[in-house]
Symmetry: none
Subunit: 205 residues, 4 copies
DNA sequence: GATGAATGAGGGTTCATTCAT
DNA sequence: TATGAATGAACCCTCATTCAT
């Protein structure tokens, strides 16, 4: 059975991968509704019928793109547990920005905001706010408490937009500068958490 | 000529208004591609052909919705030029939040982000970042300089997201609390500007 | 009553005329289906509702254009009854070509052929073959007898196409040359009538 | 690959053929603008979406109908190179008329004249004047020289109209009679060429 | 008589999905 | 597994016609 994988199954896997890759690029370049299944299939170099075959629906493909992206992004997160929290946050964003700089097609996918109609909102937010959530965890902030969650969402947007603009700028500033800028924004956000919910214990950086 | 306005022209104007109103609600509730011209017309209670008649195309209608929204939002901005800058910023956001709280359908229109494909990006951003730009002007910050522009965009997103969440929360915190939270975020943003472009003269609040 | 004509009625007549004029140009430039009532009205500088008002339907307007054209063309036909038949034919075509050269918008109206769907075929043919019919009458040929009618239609087409090309040519040959060419074609056509229906008494030119 | 042709590909080809067939009939019966894509599809017994699938657009389908028609008509042209020119001309028209008599739906397609708006003018003329051009070549007449081209167009029209009428007549005269009639018309046309451009060497029949 | 707002049927086209091969 | 032909619902838009003013 294992051996068979080198035959049909392997090629099926390959097709699936090609579709995901193509879909990532397409969904990044245009809003969901403007990407056709045929576009994706053509980019992937396979028959459009295979989208149904492998992902059921167009939405299934989109969802899988989000999940895969999420997986890949989180894989790059590495922080030194010994270091100070502030430093860990910086490590996190350095990794994040580095990854995005190398895969700038992701910007298009992550930034524009959810199409409310796509029943993928949760998955979408999971990807989009992945890094900010990690920061929140690092800082020991609650993810669910209203005030904290509110600022988290807000900060995640701010970070995304900043990253997006940074990627689009011709002479990109140094990563470290952007990291410091993010820390500035984060500092503001932490104050905001305190203002909004004094009951939360907010660390400083 | 003036007299005619009370007749047919007034009714045309009325129809136009009904279409804009309906469109605002529809485009807020679903992404552009999912709103059909017929939906809008039905909501407005008129024939769908009138969209062409009054706005040329679906996009023309959408554009007009954005413009009208922009117009209305900016109309509410009133600040006391005698007051301190920080106070003026607070006045601005208090007005902004008050207006949005009374027209929470706008949130859906403004937040999701542009469909890159709609050739209305500029107009869209004009509305979405209207308030943040006003703040920038108030603080004497440049709108065009890269670093400043970048943080402006980022801060605008943060403020939008915060506002959006606030509107969605059941027991909405007091407006004044949110204003202070925004000031916290703005403070962080101002630091960010300094970090990114030390050449800019950034005031404190 | 006569005096009133200088008031509303005269202006109504004027509007009618403007619509006919505009329609002539429009229907010449594009096939019937591509000319919109609004196009015509805009060209005429009046409200589009007036087409219904004055002509009932779009087709009514078209029909009226054909009739009016027919009327005008036939008005120019003058032949000297004393002259030889051949000379009269030449006079006829000289008049015809002169008129068309001065109203070359007619070419577009007359040449393309009838849209079979327009219930105006008869009227259309009446205009298109007006001159050729006149020739047939001049030569004492029957209009109804199958063979004669067939060749008449054929010759009318040939003459139309020739005229059309002539009008489109930059350095237009002299009218008299074209007249002789038409006589050549006519000569051929007369032979054809003899071949097709030996019972007909066909004169020579 | 070759084997696949007997399966799905053959059925695709079949569908294409059915659409072309249906389109030929529809476009013959009514002007282009009055034939709907759905009409064609319904006549062909397939879904209307297939028009896009196989021909891209309505115009693509129309164009293909013209091309296919042209192809088929020209296939029937066979002349004996040993025979006298006049005889070859007769052979040509005999073949042409025979084919049309067996496919009288073509008359409706070819005769009405081009819709100037359809960007298919060239292709259209190619079909409509196919036979006349062949005659011109046979007689060694130039296709491009203005005078010759003018008369060619004119003669082609005459021949078409004659053919069209002939097909519509109940008791169709013998083909050979029509051929002689065409030769009569052609004789006139040849004189016309001489009159128009004495520099051209025009043979006799 | 004149206006142009309003109507709504109907057009061409797109495209997710299905399914026989 | 893979193909791409086939389906048909749904879209945006056009436009002849009506009619209140």
């Amino acid at each position: 059975m294992e051996l068979l994988r080198s035959g049909r199954q392997a090629s099926a896997e390959e097709t699936r991968r090609k579709l995901l890759e193509a879909a990532l690029h397409q969904f990044s370049a245009r809003p969901y509704a403007e990407v056709t299944v045929s576009d994706v299939a053509r980019t992937a170099g396979v028959a459009h019928g295979l989208v149904s075959h492998h992902f059921g629906h167009k939405q299934g493909l989109y969802l899988e793109v989000l999940r895969e992206t999420n997986r890949r992004i989180r894989e790059t997160y590495r922080t030194d547990p010994e270091a100070a929290v502030g430093e860990q946050v910086r490590q996190l964003y350095r990794a994040h920005l580095t990854y995005l700089a190398e895969h700038d097609e992701l910007a298009g996918l992550l930034l524009p905001g959810t199409d409310a109609s796509l029943q993928v909102g949760e998955e979408f937010d999971a990807v989009r706010t992945a890094c900010a959530r990690e920061v929140w965890l690092l800082l020991g902030l609650p993810l669910e408490r209203p005030g904290s969650a509110m600022v988290l969402a807000s900060f995640a947007r701010a970070a995304d937009e900043l990253t997006f603009r940074w990627l689009g700028v011709c002479g990109r500033p140094e990563i470290d500068v952007i990291v410091e800028v993010l820390v500035d924004l984060l500092t503001g956000a932490l104050h905001a958490v305190r203002t909004l919910d004094p009951g939360i214990d907010v660390p400083s950086l």
